[in-house]
Amino acid sequence: MAQASGIDPLVDMEDDRPKWDNKLQYLLSCIGFAVGLGNIWRFPYLCQTYGGGAFLIPYFIALVFEGIPLFYIELAIGQRLRRGSIGVWRTISPYLGGVGLGCFSVSFLVSLYYNTVLLWVLWYFLNSFQYPLPWSTCPLDLNRTGFVRECQSSGTVSYYWYRQTLNISSDIGNTGTIQWKLFLCLVACWATVYLCVIRGIESTGKAIYFTALFPYVVLTIFLVRGLTLPGATEGLTYLFTPNMKILQNPRVWLDAATQIFFSLSLAFGGHIAFASYNPPRNNCEKDAVTIALVNSMTSLYASITIFSIMGFKATNDYGRCLDRNILSLINEFDFPELSISRDEYPEVLMYLNATQADRLAQLPLKTCHLEDFLDKSASGPGLAFIVFTEAVLHMPGASVWSVLFFGMLFTLGLSSMFGNMESVITPLFDLGILPRSVPKEAMTGMVCLVCFISAICFTLQSGSYWLEIFDSFAASLNLIIFAFMEVVGVIYVYGMKRNISPQERRSSTRAGCRSPVYSCPSCPHCGSHQLLWLICCTSTDGDRRIHIWKVV
C-alpha cells in the first residue's frame, strides 16, 4: 500500500524553494513593485488633463473590471504553480512557454532603462546636499560679465537638466561621449540593486521594509508642508474640480485603462515570481484586492501632495509675474518704491493706459493670469526634474526638501526594480541554466553585470533619445499582448473550472468555488478591446505612445 500522506503534497513539492519571512514582506514587495514613479508623476497629470475629479470614475471602473482580475490571475497562478514566469507558462502548456519568455525579455529591457531613470534621480539627490542648489543660478560665462547665453534663454532649471546633467546632443545620430558623472551614478545604482537582490528574496525582503515605507513617510511630510504653503488651496480646488463632460471623450477611458494596467505592473512576471514564494494556502484573492487598492490610494495621496505644491508654484510664479510688471512701471515712471501693491496693479495700469499709452506700449509687460500658470502641467521626468525642482527653489529650506523628494523617488524606483529583477532572476533559477553548485550571489551578480554593461549606452550624450525609443517600443504594446495571452491561457488552456484558489479546495462548498475569471467575466473582452484600441490608436497617432517608465 502506498504510504498515505497526511501532508499536503503541495508543500512536499519544493521544500528548498525560498520563502518569505512573513506575510508583510510579501505584501510590501508587491506594493513596492506596483507603486512606482508613475504614481507620482503620471497619475496627477492624467487627473489634471482629464477633468480633475471626474477622471476617478473611469479609473476606478478600470481598476475593478481590469486591474484586480488580471492581478488576481497572476498572483494565483504564481502561488499555485510555484514557479517564475517561464516555468508557469510552460507548465500550463508547452506551447505557451513563449509568453513566459516574452515577459522575461520585457522585464530585462525595462530594468535596463528604468535604472537609468534612477541614476538621474540619484544624480539630483547627490547634488541636493548643498546650498544654494546648483540649479538655482546660471553659471558665469568666460568673461564673467554675465551668465552663459544658453542658460539665459532656456532658464536655469532646464539648462541644468539638459546641459549639466544629460549634456544632450542635437539628435540621436550624434552619439557623443560617455558622461563620466552619469557613468559613476550608473555604477552606484547597479551596485545598490545588486546589494538588495544578492540573495533573492532573502535580501530584498529585508530591504523592502525601508524602500517601500520610506516613500509614504516622505509623502506625508510633503503633504503637511504642501498644504501649509500659500496657494495650495488654489491648486487643489482648480485641479480637482470635476469636469464631467470630459467623460464623453473615449480617450479618457483608454488612458484610465492603460494607467491601471501599467501602474499595477501587470504582465511583467514580477508578481508571478513574488507569489511563487508564498505558502500554497495563502489567500491570494484578498492580497490582490489589498495591493491594488493600496496602489490606487497611493496615487490619489500623491496627487494631493503634488497638486498642493503645484498650486504653490503657480501662485508664486503669478506673483513674480505681477512683481516684474510693477517694477517695470515703477522704473519707467519713477514712482516711489513699493508704491503699487499687487491688488492696485490693474487700476494703475488702466490709469496709465488712459493717460500715457505711448510710454506704456514700449514696456515689456506680460499678461498674468493665475489659470495660465495652473494649467502648465507636466508629466514624467519633466515634472520631477524641471517643474518640481523649480518649485523647491522657492520653498524655505530648499536643500532639505530636494533631498527628501529625490530620496523618495529613488526608493520608489528601487522597490520597482526589485520586482523587475526578480522577474528576471526567478525564471533563470527555475530553468536551472547554471548548475546548482554556482552560488546564488554569483548568478545575481552576473545578471546585474550584464544589465550594467548593456545600460552604459544610456549614459551617452544621446542616451535620453535611446531611452525614449526603448520606452515607447520595448514594453507598451508587448505587455498588453502578453496580458491578453495570459488571460486566454488561464481561461481556455488551463481551464476556468480548475481550482486555482487553494483555500477553497478543502472547503465544503465545492460548488461555490470561484476561479478568478468568474470575478471578471468581461476580462478577456476588456483585454481584447483595449488591445485593438491601442493598436489602432498607436498606428494613427504616433505622438501618443505610452511611456512605461512614466507610468509604472
Partner: protein, 222 residues
C-alpha cells in the same frame, strides 16, 4: 553781483547734467526693497555721500587724483530714488569721458555699495555692468563626497554578504556529510509490494505535469 554768478553756475550745471546728457549715467536705488523697515530717507546728505564716493572712485584713476566732490554733479532726483550724475573736469567746462567714469565705478563698486548698505541689484548704475562674483567652487564638489560615502557603504555591505555566504556554504558542505551516507543507504532499498517494485510511476514514458494535478488525483483513494 552774486546773483548773476549764481545763475551762470546753475545754467552751466544744467547744461552738463541733464537726463541723457553726454557722459552722464543714471543711477537707481531700491532702498526700501533692500532694507525694509530699516530704510533711510534719501535726502541731500545722502546725495553728498554719493558724490563723495564717486569723487573717491575717480581719484583712484591715474591722472584724476585731483577730483573734488564739487566736480560731481547730480540732477533729476526723483521719488523712485533715481538720478543722473556727471563728473566734470577741474575747469567745470566739460565732463570726463564715460569710459573713465565707468572703469572707476566698476573698480570700487563694492565700496560704494557698502557705503549705502546696498548690493549690485539694489544700487543700479544703468549702462555699467557689474562684475559678477566668481562662483564659490569647493575644491571637491559636494556630490562626489556624498557619492563616495554611499558607494563605500554599498561595496562594504556587498563584500560582507558575499563573504558570509561563502562561509555558510563551507559550513554546509562540512556538516551534512554524515546525513548523506544515510540517504544513500535508503535509496538502495526498493520497496517491493506483491512482487511489483514500488516505483512504477517514475519517469518511464510520459511525464507528470504537477500543475494539472489536483489534490485528489495525486493520491489514489483508499
Amino acid at each position: 553781483m552774486l546773483w548773476p554768478l549764481f545763475f551762470l553756475v546753475t545754467t552751466i550745471h544744467a547744461e552738463l547734467c541733464h537726463p541723457d546728457a553726454e557722459n552722464a549715467f543714471k543711477v537707481r536705488l531700491s532702498i526700501r526693497t533692500a532694507l525694509g523697515d530699516k530704510a533711510y530717507v534719501w535726502d541731500t546728505d545722502e546725495e553728498y555721500l554719493f558724490r563723495a564716493m564717486v569723487a573717491f572712485s575717480m581719484r583712484k584713476v591715474p591722472n584724476r587724483e585731483t577730483t573734488e566732490i564739487s566736480h560731481v554733479l547730480l540732477c533729476n532726483v526723483t521719488q523712485r530714488v533715481s538720478f543722473w550724475f556727471v563728473v566734470t573736469d577741474p575747469s567745470k567746462n566739460h565732463t570726463l569721458p564715460a569710459a573713465e567714469v565707468q572703469s572707476a565705478i566698476r573698480m570700487n563698486r563694492n565700496r560704494i555699495n557698502s557705503a549705502f548698505f546696498l548690493d549690485d541689484n539694489t544700487l543700479e548704475f544703468l549702462k555699467i555692468p557689474a562684475t559678477l562674483a566668481p562662483p564659490t567652487d569647493a575644491s571637491v564638489p559636494v556630490w562626489i563626497i556624498v557619492f563616495g560615502v554611499i558607494f563605500c557603504i554599498v561595496v562594504v555591505a556587498i563584500t560582507l554578504l558575499v563573504l558570509s555566504g561563502i562561509r555558510q556554504r563551507r559550513r554546509n558542505n562540512k556538516g551534512p556529510l554524515g546525513v548523506e551516507d544515510a540517504e544513500d543507504k535508503c535509496e538502495n532499498i526498493i520497496t517491493i509490494e506483491n512482487g511489483i517494485p514500488c516505483d512504477p510511476l517514475d519517469t518511464k514514458g510520459g511525464h507528470i505535469n504537477d500543475g494539472f494535478l489536483t489534490e485528489d488525483e495525486r493520491l489514489t483513494p483508499l
